[in-house]
């Protein structure tokens, strides 16, 4: 492994003589540089999308877990039994992590936005609220409703998750799309660099012929191409990544303060992914070109 890394470093330094013998090949060079750059740029976007969507999904998911309540409206006398029945039902329902009866202060806090702080909660015939925490897998809402109706007629499941769940799903989906896009971009980059390398090799068939004629070994010829494409992919992708990162920083940072959607930018560890992009591109270029070069050379006399 260390040898391989050293080999790569060696590659990037270059070898004046071997590099001169393969012509500069202007357009495949530009093409490779540009492809690597554009792909890296798009990767930054896709990565940001995935990471942001992932964070969003996680945050929403965790908020979701606390947004179902069971409301028990019953005559004072039955309140205690029905509450106990509800808690028992909830305890035995798969997908429910916990249930907790809200105390008077909490109930008052919930009502505050509507009635102001002075509402006499104790003196009102208000229902009792049970906060339900679900597990990641979630529970079967309709089944729970049926059971509650049977066990505690005054209990109503108020599933606030219903309208938030699609949000979580959407965020999850965004993340999926982002990863899919990254995979696609990586595959396209590999394919395009392979094809560009093969185009360069094909365009230089005569050069290769001359080099073989004067006694050049395959590795000598292959190395000139591999070195070139690896370096181009590395620098192109580095430029693209930097451009993408700058773009991300320049995007107006909206919604930041609410903390609810920290935004599409990278936060914390997200940035750590960026240097991987050019390195991956260089690795892809290295192997793709090497394979292409040795294959083309193997077919010659």
């Amino acid at each position: 492994m260390i040898g391989r890394v050293a080999g790569l470093a060696d590659l990037l330094k270059g070898d004046g003589s071997a590099d001169r013998v393969v012509p500069p090949s202007g357009f495949t060079a530009h093409l490779t540089l540009f492809t690597a750059g554009a792909m890296a740029f798009l990767t930054v976007f896709a990565l940001a999308l995935s990471l942001a969507a992932g964070q969003l999904a996680d945050r929403w998911e965790s908020e979701l877990a606390r947004t179902a309540t069971v409301r028990i409206s019953a005559p004072e006398a039955q309140m205690a039994t029905q509450t106990a029945a509800v808690l028992e039902v909830l305890r035995t329902t798969p997908g429910i992590a916990g249930a907790r009866v809200l105390d008077a202060a909490e109930q008052a806090a919930l009502l505050e936005p509507w009635f102001g702080p002075e509402l006499p909660v104790d003196s009102l015939p208000i229902p009792r609220l049970v906060e339900v925490t679900e597990t990641g897998a979630g529970y079967d809402g309709d089944g729970l409703r049926l059971r509650l109706a049977a066990e505690a007629p005054g209990a109503v499941l108020d599933d606030h998750t219903r309208w938030r769940r699609p949000l979580v799903r959407a965020a999850d989906r965004m993340r999926l799309v982002g990863y899919l896009a990254i995979g696609l971009i990586a595959a396209s980059t590999a394919a395009m660099i392979t094809l560009a390398a093969r185009a360069a090799l094909a365009a230089n068939a005569r050069v290769i012929e001359v080099l073989r004629l004067v006694g050049a070994q395959d590795v000598y010829i292959a190395r000139a191409f591999v070195r070139r494409f690896t370096r181009r992919a590395l620098s192109g992708a580095a430029a693209g990544t930097v451009a993408g990162a700058v773009m991300m920083l320049l995007l107006p940072d909206m919604g930041g303060d609410s903390g609810f959607l920290a935004g599409l930018g990278f936060s914390g560890w997200g940035w750590a992914w960026l240097p991987a992009i050019p390195l991956l591109a260089a690795g892809v270029a290295f192997w793709a070109t090497r394979a292409a070069a040795l294959r083309v050379l193997g077919g010659l006399t």
């Binding site: 012509p23 073989r212 004067v214 006694g215």
Partner: protein, 225 residues
């Protein structure tokens, strides 16, 4: 140095060359002649391992070419100077760089041998065109540059395919003298040419053997030369 043992070659189904037996002894001088399309270039390609015999054996520096790896072929080619009929060059390098190419390719530093290159360029009469690109050379200039490139590594064997095809008689005689000079230095020389005058002129200077391809076979040319 190079030995053919009942070697045959065919591009398609029919044999182009058959039953070729020859030993190129060190220090010998051979001409190869025959009509256009007879297989002179093909014969040379067998000698420099671009083609493998379809039957029989070709041994280069004692090794059967079929037993050689691609790298061994490359290394052995450095001991053979080849003047290709089409004078292939790298068009993006200068003529001097092209002449020095075998040095670069074999891992030697061309800049340390710049003096040799200059001498070589003068020897073939190209000192004024050192920085030109190959497409800027005239046909004859290209052939002389090809000869310079063929000898830059001091090879043991020199194979030249129509080295005088594009040059006038004076220049052809000069080129011939260069080849004779190389032969006197102990190098094995094989020249494929259709120019019988050149062969006649050579016979006055060197004990050359003349081979002819006729009816797909290698013959010694008779007294008509």
């Amino acid at each position: 140095m190079i030995e053919l043992d009942e070697a045959a070659y065919s591009y398609n189904s029919d044999d182009l060359l058959a039953g070729m037996t020859l030993q190129l002894a060190p220090g010998s001088f051979h001409f190869l002649t025959g009509p256009s399309g007879a297989g002179k270039t093909t014969f040379l390609k067998l000698c420099y391992m671009e083609l493998m015999p379809t039957r029989g054996a070709v041994r280069v520096f004692g090794t059967d070419v079929r037993a050689m790896s691609r790298d061994a072929v490359a290394l052995n080619r450095r001991r053979i100077g080849i003047v290709h009929q089409d004078c292939q060059f790298l068009d993006h390098l200068s003529v001097a760089e092209n002449v020095a190419l075998p040095l670069a390719v074999s891992g030697r530093d061309p800049s340390s041998e710049a003096g040799n290159i200059d001498e070589l360029m003068a020897w073939v009469g190209l000192d004024g065109r050192r920085g030109a690109r190959p497409p800027e050379l005239s046909g004859g200039e290209r052939q002389r540059a090809a000869l310079a490139r063929a000898v830059v590594l001091s090879p043991d064997v020199i194979l030249a395919d129509e080295p005088t095809g594009n040059i006038d008689w004076d220049m052809a005689q000069r080129l011939l003298r260069l080849l004779v000079e190389l032969n006197r230095m102990g190098k094995t020389v094989l020249v494929a040419t259709h120019d019988l005058n050149l062969i006649r002129a050579a016979k006055a200077q060197v004990a050359a053997r003349v081979l002819r391809i006729r009816d797909r076979r290698l013959q010694s040319a008779g007294a008509d030369l």
